[in-house]
């Protein structure tokens, strides 16, 4: 995963609600539309995320509190 690509995809999704909707409907097409060199692993990750974003109405951070307890 390249950080540059992630930043570009996030910015594009944030400012283009149609693109965000397209991602959840057809992730491959939405990612192609961005015309950036997204690798296979990165594409797979966005497809997984798109599926989850499309399937989940709303998640609050409150529900997930207390899960991070590490020693350092």
């Amino acid at each position: 995963m390249t950080h540059e690509n992630t930043a570009v995809v996030l910015e594009a999704l944030r400012h283009d609600s149609a693109l965000l909707r397209a991602l959840t409907e057809d992730a491959d097409r939405a990612l192609d539309h961005l015309q950036i060199p997204i690798g296979a692993d990165e594409r797979a990750l966005w497809k997984t995320l798109a599926g989850k974003l499309g399937a989940t109405a709303s998640i609050t951070a409150e529900r997930t509190k207390g899960i991070a307890l590490l020693g350092m």
Binding site: T6, A61, T64, L70
Partner: protein, 368 residues
């Protein structure tokens, strides 16, 4: 942990300590009693154990104990061996937590009088004495196996210490890089969980390849957990110890990577100020949400979680343990999605801060 039905019940009430956790905490206390007479050292260790107990009662789980426990159980360890793994992991976890809190000055009021000597001894006890005793008492392990386990633990602790030392080296660093931060996280936290999962595989008699696979699964889980821990510290804790210490966490590195040199320096001023000013902390939080750094961190949680899930599928674990560990990963994913949704669907309220607007403008120019 092992019993999904009981675990759910405990989550629902939020008060009951799960039987497995009770057994582990009792075993750690027994080890402490065997090692040291009652006194300030015992009181210090007991305070940290109680803190962990409170967390377990409130939340029903602690990944540093539950993940290696589930791996050991899934690999077929009996009750005695799973307890051994959990005591080992709990002791090292508490030792790291105690020393880290001491450095961060996140120290309970009633223990402010504890001397550096007492803290160092308590750390040694938890990080060295108890784990070594646990290794000496692992059932069905040859002398060569015990020697191998001791060496393995020492090597992991060495890497963890290196990561922790790097963490302390340059506070409020405007040149904080994403790659260096990830390497430090991997050494500091990744190796901790890798050690626990490696130990689970070793205790259950797995071959070297499977031990390494379990260790790698632990690393991936720990990376996702550490990013969550960083975000929790930054956004949810009443006092952020990372901000107070100037610790360069991944969300901060992701934000700095979006800024030009001038804006980086200005942001570092805000970063320093946020250590003691709640208003500055709010501006910093807004900046990091608005720049996409927090959403980016959420994508990285998801990335490490997916890698852990893929690795988990390749581990020959009992289906119940597989399922419980998949649930652990799903919890991490829900946290990541909550932050992503917040970024994609809501425009955060903008504070009227000239410094911040300046850095935002620079970022946008760079994007163009």
């Amino acid at each position: 942990m092992g019993d999904g039905e009981r675990a759910t019940e405990c989550h629902a009430t939020g008060e009951v300590l799960q039987p497995q956790h009770r057994v582990v905490l009792r075993a750690v206390r027994e080890h402490l009693r065997r090692c040291i007479p009652a006194g300030p050292l015992t009181a210090l260790c007991e305070r940290w154990l109680t803190q962990l107990e409170d967390h377990l009662q409130e939340h029903g789980s602690a990944p540093c104990i539950d993940v290696p426990y589930l791996v050991a159980q899934g690999l077929g360890a009996n009750a005695e061996k799973t307890r051994t793994v959990a005591v080992f992991a709990t002791s090292i976890f508490l030792g790291c937590d105690l020393l880290d809190d001491f450095h961060d000055q996140a120290w309970p009021r009633e223990l402010r009088s504890a001397s550096v000597n007492t803290v160092s001894l308590a750390g040694s006890l938890l990080l060295s004495v108890i784990p070594t005793l646990v290794i000496a008492e692992i059932p069905d392990l040859s002398d060569a196996g015990r020697f191998h386990a001791c060496r393995m633990v020492a090597e992991y602790l060495q890497r963890m210490a290196g990561g922790q030392a790097d963490d302390l080296r340059s506070p409020w660093n405007p040149e904080l890089s994403i790659d260096a931060t990830q390497s430090r996280m991997m050494a500091k936290s990744g190796e901790e969980m890798a050690l626990f999962c490696h130990f689970s595989a070793l205790v259950t008699g797995c071959d070297a390849h499977l031990q390494q696979e379990c260790a790698q699964f632990g690393r991936e889980m720990a990376m996702a957990l550490q990013i969550i821990s960083d975000l929790t510290d930054l956004f949810e804790k009443p006092v952020s110890t990372d901000l107070q210490q100037g610790t360069g966490t991944l969300p901060l590195a992701l934000h700095l990577a979006r800024l030009e040199t001038g804006a980086r320096k200005a942001f570092c001023g805000l970063w320093r100020e946020s250590a003691h000013s709640p208003a500055a902390r709010r501006r910093l939080q807004w900046a990091m949400c608005d720049s996409g750094a927090v959403a980016h961190a959420a994508v990285m949680i998801e990335s490490y979680g997916e890698r852990a899930k893929e690795r988990l599928h390749g581990l020959p674990l009992h289906p119940a343990s597989q399922h419980a560990l998949q649930e652990e990963i799903a919890t991490l994913s829900r946290y990541a999605l909550a932050h992503l949704q917040a970024f994609l669907h809501h425009e955060p309220e903008k504070p009227s801060d000239p410094l911040f607007l300046h850095s935002r403008t620079l970022r946008k120019e760079r994007t163009r």
